[in-house]
Amino acid sequence: MTYLPLWFIPLFPLIGTILLGTIAVVSSGAKKGPSEGLVGTLAVLFPALSFAVVAILACTMPEAGIRETLCNWIDIPLFRADIGFLFDGLSRIMLLFVTGIGSLIAMYSIGYMHGDRGFARFFAYINLFLFSMIVLVLADSLLLTFLGWEGVGLCSYLLIGFWNQDIKNCKAANKAFIVNRVGDVGFLLGMLTLVTIGGSSILNYDGLAAFIKMIFGADMVSEVVIPLSLAGILIFIGCTGKSAQIPLLTWLPDAMAGPTPVSALIHAATMVTSGVYLLARLGLMFSMLDYVLLAITFVGMFTALWAAIAGLLQNDIKKVLAYSTISQLGYMFMAAGVCAFDASIFHVFTHAFFKAALFLGAGAVIHSLAGEQDMRRMGGMINKTPVTACVMIFAFLAIVGFPGFAGFWSKDLILERIFVSGPIVGPLVYVVGLATAVITAVYMGRLIIMTFFGKYRGSKESEEHIHEAPAVMLIPMVILAFGAIFSGYLWADSIGITFFRDSMASVVGPAQALYASTNAVSHVNPVIFAALGTVAALAGMFIAWKVFIRARIIGVKGASTVPEGSAASWTFLWDYIHCAFIAGVNILAWFCDVVVEKVLQAIQWTLAAIVEILGDGASVLQVRKVRLQLAFSIAGVALLVMLVVFSGGLV
């Protein structure tokens, strides 16, 4: 059976990028921008086409997946890499929601970006992002994944700094790129470690699997486990950068400087989950490395807890959602840390829906308030923007894990898997995870209450302008809200639906079987976890209701949405730590510039001065009388001749 060629999937957004980029560059000189209808159509058409291809392939795909090698990329001694694509259970799920949500958000952006001078440029970036993301997910080797990996980082940089007239946005963009770059270097070095262990073929995912099989076959596990652990740690550093985990998480809250659809697409639904995707993709390797897995679990746990607490202290609606994203990503990493890759990808999947819905809702709120992001100046919006409010409330119920909604199925699944994973660590992490779930419900409840309930706290004149978002924005939101409600039913363990797990079993199954074989897995009735999760969600919502519905929130005048006092130091803890590193580099640079460079210049000057002094000395002999010089030269010749004659010739 022949399938559609895989390269069709990234091809469409690439064409879109080129077309829209050309339009953007060509029209940039003109007074009026290009027609928004045309640009918008193109911008949605290409991701949608790509989604269609993915959907067709997803239905016709055989169990083992489709592999396709396009051409050779690098071929030098010691190293060889091909450009090839791999479409299997894992990349199918990822691609479906990447292209699907990507198309929806592109559509939403037509309304959101209406009237912006960089309309075409924005969609060119979005298409480029989708291209990179598709390459990241579809690649069959780590190197090609890395191409997408840096590509999405680049697009994230471009889109965060989209409104580049404001230098603050540019700084946030730079921060995102540089922090990501730190992670990327980890990824790069991790790949190099792998190449030293098993040659360049190991970078291919199939090659890696074959290599690990070979190790088990030859019984050499103990010999390679240390270098493999090094590689695992380095690649995990890459994942912490991209997925905003401790310690490289500071860029994500700042990344909210970009347009809101970007935050929804890149910084909530797709790009930031690529770290989780990579862990699942390399699951077989990670399942061998117990200590690395432990590190992943704990990093995920601390990130989830810390970001949830930081989320409590934010005033900016988008920053609350940013911290919430970090916290949810922490859950996914916790799951990956106990080798529950299917559960973690499931959470990626559901999270993409409800978090995108939340962000789009927040975007609609911001849009209707003409750019206001401070929750202290919102309130009572439920009367004015009912559809947005409904979408956000459904998504809220999904994220806190209210029974029946998407988050309920995925989050409880993760907690269950964590609990049963081991005797001591499992319950410990489980307790923290459950506590985090309570906090999640609290800060999300705070967001909903501050935004939609109570009285409007902004200025009177702005109140009159509040309006519901246009249909082009509402339709994607509603679709995503449906996703937030029902996507969880793809894998509802308690009621016996395991469709999602089965579809991924061929990819992550071996890894999880390997992990299960070395770690005793006890079995507990899933209903207990569901009940505990529900209690946590309800408790959190109750606390939020009690605390925030009555609390008088002071409407503030200042523009800053930054938390104050001790809240700020709690939120910016990791920023402070990064600042220490930056200060170190700056001091080093200062030392080079001011000390080393000056010393080198001094040495040069000294040498030059010595030469000059010698030259001055020699020039004394140059008498300023032509005749005398002539006499000197004749005398010199005579001297030479005499020397030659009396010494008996030259030779």
Binding site: R624, K625, V626, R627, I634
Partner: protein, 104 residues
């Protein structure tokens, strides 16, 4: 009595020395040039004088070289005088010692 080659050389040496002394000691540029010419001619004389000591067929070489050097000297004199005149126009002086603008 035939002219001894030695005497020719002595004469050439004397003329050469006079030429050099004139070139060095006179301040007038024209005299300096004349001194140089004198020295050059002394060398020519020396050539011819030595050529005389050789057998006929070889001596031709020695007589041709002065012809060349006379031609070169003529050209050199032309250029030299032209330069002197140019300098004179700029400086209003033919004093060699006043030409010391080249700094070390």
């Amino acid at each position: 009595m035939e002219l001894q080659a030695m005497y020719i050389q002595i004469l050439a040496l004397v003329i050469f020395a006079i030429g050099i002394i004139v070139a060095i000691s006179r301040r007038n540029l024209f005299f300096v040039l004349m001194g140089v010419e004198l020295a050059l001619n002394a060398v020519n004389l020396s050539f011819v004088g030595f050529a005389k000591t050789l057998p006929a067929e070889a001596s031709v070489t020695g007589q041709i070289v002065p012809l060349f050097s006379i031609a070169v000297a003529a050209a050199e004199a032309c250029v030299g005088f032209a330069m002197v005149i140019m300098i004179f126009r700029n400086k209003e002086s033919v004093d060699a010692d006043s030409y010391s603008d080249m700094k070390g």
